[in-house]
């Protein structure tokens, strides 16, 4: 009896100790269904084998649903998610609300200084990094080299809007179903307004002056919108007012667009021979300018952040550090090839000799480097963000403005009417918001 009691105690203690050693922490990761994210889900065994005490749960949602869902959870401190995929628009706004955990204490080997300065700047608030970029993107011109050659033209590496208009005219052959240029027309702050805000920068237009007065009544905005309408009405595909990224991707892949100015991440899709009928004919150029020193390209980074309500912050940091590390890049390259590594985040990636061979690598880097979120347009502005204004009110306002511009593209109103309405509604909303 005397012997069995200690033995029992020892066994129970051993079992408890064993359980403690293998106590699993589950971290829930909310993400969008983009190719790079899905690839990451497929490679997480590398992480879980190195961290057997951490279990990963994935919640994949459509972009707008995800944004609404995580905002709701973070604002109510629901603690449903430990890691979230968010963009450069949310990071500064949420960081200022103290909704995000600072990532300044990620391990030294994670190498913060290796992150591209333009991307890092967009994710830093008060010298604190609040999100780790998973992949970064800008926008650029993707064009058909064969159609340009047929027209006897050559695309400059850094074209102007005039040159784009001439190229669009030369490549358009509506009888054959080929349209010189495909651009976003679908209403939304992340759809047509992302493109038009970036394009407006190259015309010297801005959303607000230094006193937060809306600027849609300026000549610069009129020039931007008139050029856009001319391009789309003369050389664009029919029904363009409902075209977003995916619709244009599909048109370009089917050989119906001479040019497409959109996210750099599209480069890997349009050059993929499995899905694209024009894979071998695609060339790249910087987004156009208008001789004012600013190009019409945007800057965006899908990033991993940790909400302040998470009860597994340390484990979440381990995951974020793994997913955005140089080692992860190497892991993707080993498994899926260099063309499929998440682009646009690290300087070291663009110094890699193997990656330099990827046809769109250099143009992606140059596009990212030519966007400056703190100084997006010609004149000074009171906000940060290239294709957005990093204030909470922007998403709502820009979606309404986008609807006016989309209606103009659909022929329901004139450019002047659309700009007048945009000016009035933005002024109202900003006044109501207390600016």
């Amino acid at each position: 009896m005397n012997l069995t009691m200690p033995l029992r105690f020892t066994s129970v203690a051993a079992i408890l100790a064993a359980n403690a050693a293998y106590a699993e922490t589950t971290i829930t990761i909310a993400t969008v269904n983009n190719g790079d994210m899905i690839r990451m889900q497929g490679l997480t065994e590398d992480f879980t084998s190195k961290n057997p005490d951490i279990k990963l749960e994935w919640v994949t949602l459509e972009e707008n649903v995800l944004r609404q869902r995580v905002t709701q959870d973070i604002a109510a401190k629901g603690g449903q998610f430990d890691v979230m995929t968010i963009g450069t628009y949310e990071v500064p706004i949420w960081a200022k609300q103290d909704w995000l955990v600072s990532l300044e204490d990620l391990p030294a080997e994670w190498d913060k200084d290796d992150i591209l300065p333009a991307i890092r700047g967009g994710l830093t608030v008060n010298d604190n990094l609040y999100a780790a970029p998973f992949y970064g993107e800008s926008s650029m011109v993707m064009y058909r080299k064969d159609l340009m050659a047929d027209a006897g033209m050559e695309m400059p590496e850094a074209p102007t809007w005039d040159q784009i208009a001439k190229a669009a005219e030369a490549m358009t052959d509506k009888e054959k179903g080929i349209y010189g240029i495909c651009l976003r027309g679908k209403a939304g702050w992340g759809e047509n307004m992302a493109f038009l805000s970036a394009m407006a920068n190259s015309y010297g237009a801005r959303w607000f002056d230094e006193n937060w007065t809306p600027q849609f009544d300026t000549e610069e905005w009129a020039a931007t919108l008139n050029t856009y309408m001319d391009l789309m009405n003369n050389y664009g595909p029919p029904g363009a007012s409902t075209n977003g990224f995916n619709e244009n991707l599909s048109l370009f892949q089917q050989g119906k667009c001479g040019m497409w100015i959109d996210a750099t991440v599209a480069a890997s899709f349009v050059t993929n021979p499995t899905d694209s009928t024009v894979a071998e004919h695609v060339g790249f150029a910087l987004a156009p300018d208008n001789g004012l020193g600013k190009r019409g390209n945007w800057l965006w980074a899908w990033s991993l952040a940790i909400p302040a309500g998470s009860d597994a912050t340390e484990e979440a940091k381990k995951f974020v550090a793994w997913a955005t590390s140089k080692e992860y890049t190497a892991l993707v390259a080993e498994n899926e090839g260099w063309a499929n590594v998440p682009p646009g985040t690290r300087t070291s990636l663009y110094e890699n000799e193997e990656y330099k061979k990827v046809p769109f690598a250099e143009m992606t880097l140059n596009s990212i480097n030519s966007a400056d979120p703190t100084n997006p347009t010609v004149d000074p502005v009171p906000y940060t963000g290239v294709q957005f204004v990093a204030i909470p009110e922007f998403a709502g306002i820009a979606t309404q403005v986008g609807q006016e511009f989309s209606a103009a593209l659909a022929g329901q109103q004139s450019v002047e009417e659309a700009l007048e309405k945009a000016q009035a509604l933005t002024a109202d909303e900003m006044e109501a918001a207390g600016y």
């Binding site: 190719g35 949602l61 972009e63 990224f245 009928t277």
Partner: protein
């Protein structure tokens, strides 16, 4: 002559019925067809109807990427649980309203229905906060209760309408024979109202199965049903139509099969009392 007109009309009516039926069913058919295409064929212009290389690749990808069984089980649990719970509460409620109405019964019925007129998003935040406090976020139990409450007015209304068709004298007779209230509801009323209860059950199961607002907003990883499974296949950057169609087909298949086998009860339930 009259006979030939009737035949002609019959043909026209039948053709029109089939035409309308096909038109209504077409989006589902197109989804099913798209699920067997490649992403490139799914977006082909002009669209390809049947002459394409059929592939099961999308189903393979979807099954590999998502834990379909877990989503399915959550859907079955939440839809089934909320319907059964709703019936347990609604049968006595509808009985009292149908057989022992008070002066305010009509008002109560209308008030119950009026809760359906409030947009769901209007109460999202309070419910979310209650769920946080009670630890019910991302739990099947929490979602079951919410869906039951949301569908309860419809269940009560449907049962009330069926119960009203049953002559009160039969219940009186059972009381004369010494039946207690429990006996009366369980052994007399319920067996007579089985078709009505069955169609209510089916309709509410379908409503709960398809509910996509609360199921998306109150779940994360553990309790997410098939609605969340579908939502995970839409992408802002990249083509996804074929895989989304495969996910949708897998999500609607169980309810489509259930609907197919129970269509008689469903039609009877929905048209009950329509013609008097």
């Amino acid at each position: 002559m009259a006979r030939s007109v009737t035949t002609q009309r019959k043909i026209i009516n039948t053709a029109a019925a089939w035409g309308i039926g096909f038109l209504i069913f077409f989006p589902i058919l197109w989804t099913i067809l798209t699920s067997f295409k490649t992403e490139a064929t799914a977006i082909a212009d002009p669209p390809v109807f049947l002459a394409f290389d059929w592939t099961l690749e999308n189903y393979e990808v979807v099954l590999e990427r998502s834990n379909y069984a877990r989503f399915l089980w959550n859907s079955v649990f939440i839809a089934g649980g909320s319907t059964l719970l709703g019936l347990i509460i609604a049968i006595p409620a509808a009985w009292s309203m149908a057989f022992v109405p008070s002066r305010r019964t009509k008002d109560i019925l209308l008030w119950m229905l009026s809760t359906k007129m409030l947009p769901a998003v209007g109460v999202l935040y309070p419910i979310y906060l209650i769920f946080i406090k009670m630890g019910l976020l991302d739990s099947r139990i929490g979602l079951t209760v919410v869906l039951m409450l949301i569908n309860l007015p419809i269940i009560v209304w449907m049962l009330y309408t069926y119960f009203r068709e049953i002559p009160g004298e039969i219940l009186e007779a059972s009381r004369m024979d010494g039946a207690t209230l429990k006996d009366e509801i369980l052994y007399v009323l319920t067996p007579m109202a089985v078709p009505g209860i069955a169609s209510t059950l089916l309709l509410n199961f379908i409503l709960a199965w398809n509910e996509a607002f609360w199921t998306l907003n109150l779940t994360a990883a553990k309790a997410a049903p098939l609605t969340a499974f579908i939502a995970s296949y839409s992408s802002p950057e990249g083509l996804f139509y074929a895989k989304l169609s495969a996910a949708s087909t897998m999500a609607i298949a169980p309810i489509l099969i259930l609907g197919w086998f129970s269509q008689k009860q469903l039609v009877r339930g929905l048209t009950f009392g329509a013609v008097k």
